[in-house]
Symmetry: D2
């Protein structure tokens, strides 16, 4: 049984895979790379083609079977990069290391998108990924999901065929898809039960997963699922700390987690966060304008702001902050997952 390796590398553009030469020279067996999780520099919205360009480029550079999760949007200080996730042989060290699992759902049909069909498809994929990783679902530290949106062609076709979709707006479909994926994670992880999932689908906002990080895009038709969790059987240097921000300026739990990692002698390898504009229109009872800014969608605002805060706390701008946190943490907040290496084994590669 192997354990997870996490290698974070900068990219000069969405199609830049040139770092692989150096990694190969450095001894990384590239065929062990199972997933590529990227922040690319598009707008992160419906017409973000940086995601597709990056996904295709990494599939060509590695193998078509590598699972990609490309999240667009490096607003503010965020720095474009990819995180390569590999399954390596268990190293020395104490058990309970992070292990890696992956799975993909079938194609999500437009009529299922944002609905129970997608929830169940994601839940099943998360369960399979956990089995692969030998991680109990309740021990998940992070479940990344890349899921489809509704394209304008699909929306037009549905209108012709009198199929009623969850929305007829492409941008809104991203939110519905992220929401359904998050609920799928919550169901698989035992965070929500069936009734709660159905209530959430009916509009109840306060129900959430604390480990899901979901992102929608037109570059996929299936849901790609990548999980990290602590496994009793895996030995290795990597650990994760998962916290939840209560709102977009909730620095405290993250600062405390970072302090604990540092105090233990550990080294941060990567930080995965979700961010969103508080749907109430207010943060700490002060009005924000992310929802009334017609020049700039709210997810771009949220990535910039939360990315600025987290990069400041971590003293590192090359982190993964993704926008739109429906049912991922409480409304206006979101999960933050810190992946780090134990003190005496801090030699894990970090570009």
């Amino acid at each position: 049984m192997g354990c997870a390796a996490v290698v974070r590398v900068p990219i000069a553009g969405p199609s830049d895979t040139s770092v692989l030469d150096g990694l190969r020279s450095a001894g990384l067996e590239l065929e062990r790379i199972r997933a590529v999780v990227g922040k690319t520099e598009g707008n992160g919205l419906v017409n973000d083609f940086s995601r597709e360009l990056a996904a295709r480029s990494w599939e060509q550079a590695l193998t078509p079977n590598v699972l990609t999760v490309m999240s667009g949007g490096t607003e503010g200080v965020l720095s474009p990069h990819v995180t390569l996730l590999a399954d390596v042989e268990s190293a020395d060290g104490p058990p309970g290391a992070l292990a890696l699992g992956m799975a993909a759902s079938g194609v999500i049909e437009p009529a299922a998108l944002g609905r129970r069909g997608q929830v169940d498809a994601v839940a099943a994929a998360v369960r399979r990924a956990c089995v692969q990783a030998e991680v109990e679902p309740v021990a998940l530290a992070l479940a990344l999901v890349k899921c489809p949106l509704l394209s304008s062609n699909e929306i037009a076709a549905a209108r012709q065929g009198a199929v009623e979709l969850v929305t007829d707006d492409g941008y809104e479909s991203m939110g519905y898809s992220r929401a359904a994926s998050a609920l799928g994670v919550a169901l698989a992880a035992g965070e929500l039960d069936d009734a709660a999932v159905d209530a959430a689908l009916r509009g109840e906002r306060g129900l959430y997963s604390a480990v899901a990080s979901t992102s929608a895009g037109r570059e996929v038709r299936r849901c790609h699922v990548v999980v990290l969790g602590h496994s009793r059987t895996a030995r290795g240097p990597l650990r994760a700390t998962t916290v939840v921000m209560r709102d977009a300026i909730d620095a405290e739990p993250v600062a405390r987690a970072l302090e604990e990692i540092r105090a233990s002698g550990g080294t941060l390898v990567q930080l995965f966060a979700k961010a969103e504009a508080d749907p109430s229109g207010r943060i700490r009872n002060r009005r924000h304008t992310m929802l009334s800014d017609s020049d700039l969608h709210a997810t771009r605002h949220a990535r910039a702001a939360v990315g600025g805060l987290l990069a400041g706390l971590a003293a590192d701008p090359m982190i993964y902050v993704s926008g739109g946190a429906e049912h991922q943490g409480p409304p206006g907040g979101g999960p933050v997952v810190l992946v780090w290496t134990l003190a005496d084994q801090a030699a894990a590669p970090r570009s």
Copy 2:
């Protein structure tokens, strides 16, 4: 000799001055309000009309003589608000309180904008404001400047008249105007000498003021200057701590200042910061994309990111973060001014 009072209030929109009724009822003598410093919810760029709408609304609600500094852009978590600055009778308490001064330059002609003419005009206004405040220029804690930009009509007229302006691009003129204003502050405050100012005007980027906060807009033709500084003669509860962020994720000096204020029993009243995209294209040697994002100007990115960080540190989104920090702190960084009340006098109004 009076001292400064600082009252921060939320607004429901750029033209919302309704808070004045409550303040009057609460006993504030509105005629003592000398300046209104606002964050309005436009784009903060050339075609931001929220600034003009706010400036006109507050002039009408108070007096045409009130000096306005309206900074557009409340990206991310930032919350629209105004900070009312009043000159009140010296209160009890130790001397060395914050005092307030104001001045306006003459009209900045297009040919002078961004050049030595503007620098000198601002320097003279800062000196007058310091005299008014009874603050030594070297004791300045903050010098806010609102300065003009080049309108498309002015650019077209200059082209007809063969006048060579510092730039023929309206957006770029905002940066040149902010730069010249900042150099004027630095000159008046003794931070830079004549030769350094001229070097800065020729393009040397590393020369800066640590107390300037300048903002450009089409709603003014003169430069509005508002200064806060500690005065030996003023007694009152307000103090300021001025620090400089070295880059856009430099959380540490701000966190330390906040900690010191809290440790002393003080209460934060307002935070004034400048933010910008690092002109090198990199932060901590990681690439950022603020300068290559053609959908969104860099100042909007910078306000969102630094606003997110500072709001998180201060646990308060209703702060003043302004974008474009040319010669205000080092390249990519900027000054941060924390205004706070002493422990036993923390009753200063704060909405």
Copy 3:
């Protein structure tokens, strides 16, 4: 009984009313100006403050009772301007001239916005304006309506109070408000009956007014209605030709109307048009991208494109093209109203 005068003037910015001095000198009695219809240079969306700035500026320059219809967005070649509508004494010339009428509804409560309540309020106002103009509703040439949107505060308040609004998205509320206003016009003008209006409110898209031009904004809480129609009792030089574009590139009816006006020796005074992105996602069976462009809302695209076409046909960029044509002309198309002067009376003021 008077007739309408239409004076179109350029503006240097949203608050520029300086043209009034010249008009007064030229003999125009400013107190006869009853309505100001403007194209201002904001984004035309939720956070467009150029509209409010213009409305307040013209109310201050003329009278608080003047009725403003400020439409934001001068994308592409469109040129910022206002059209002043005055009620002047009937001039010489044949009867059947254009006459002017105005009315305002009461405040549109958030719960009524986009629904039958708003439809009926607008219909009643249109009827009153027609009575004032002495124009039969069926003889309407143009009915301009400025109507409110749902602000983020209203949306938040409704959520607290469990009031269900027609939408909880500010941008979408603009479309619902325009739609309801257009249906109110259609009802008053006899273009649609009660059953058709209800069907349209339930989502049937093909039902429309051919004379409505409605625009939503946060600067009004009531609906402002301005009508122009041919009146049997009015004598004067102005006439109007109303045509309908079937889609956004339907040049032919406009070109033909312009040709007929020119052939008769008439002179175009102003052109009022509505434009929208075809909701099917296609124009002449070719895919357009206005609905999948997350950087730029569809109404901005539509104004730019249709404005370019109409300005080219009219050889004049200072025309009124407003975005979002729900129930104003067929889906993807919109009404175009050409106001012109008869041949021998072409001396009507035109800046």
Copy 4:
């Protein structure tokens, strides 16, 4: 000696090459396709990745040697598509048909970009392409050029190395690159001489090519040149009519050319146009706002507006309209090239 074939096809997204299956079935020899000229649905600016995605997709679907010219931006009514240019055996019909030529320059070094080095490199490539096409340079109907821009990495590197580039702003570098490419075409076509080119490089705006259509992007480092011209030796059905718009609303020359084509029984196959915001800030002496809109770059405005006009005149939204027309037609205007088939041979493929 062959002649040109021009096949225009819609695409469902930047990576959609699926139309090739149908074309192959219909008998088109795909290996004869020498160039792919596309309008892709990105923003057409620095961070438009739709161009690179399309270029890579077509190179993979055809051959790495196919020359791509991908122009981003389908604002307004414009419809994403590619125009496939093939070199086919001379058909029946009169001589003087359109012939096709292609060439690529060497890599344009950053220091040469926007300067004489790029001009000369493009001029040489245009001459080679004309030789290949057997077209006299003075008989050119259209010279398409895809040229590089300055990336943020190149700008940063130049600053380190104290190399002075023509600009240190990526967006501006697109304009400089387009300008130099257009001057290269003008030089090769004999429209401008060396002295005029140098004057243009020093800032004289009125000097232009009437056949150049240049587009900049980060997806190329060399300049790709594709020419179409009437050749004495080529027989075939295709002809081109080249006109120049004097400003962005100059409908007349295009309308007349379309009328002549229709009158002759010809059929329009494709229309290639350049568009720009008039640098004077005015069109027909009316102010436009394309240069002061900080939310939306001027080239996007210009494509939308001119695209709307030309699509209306041609009754077809699937046309090629590219933004930024420096030295391509007079300031504010641009060349328009109509490719059409003779009356009795109108069977050329047109999707």
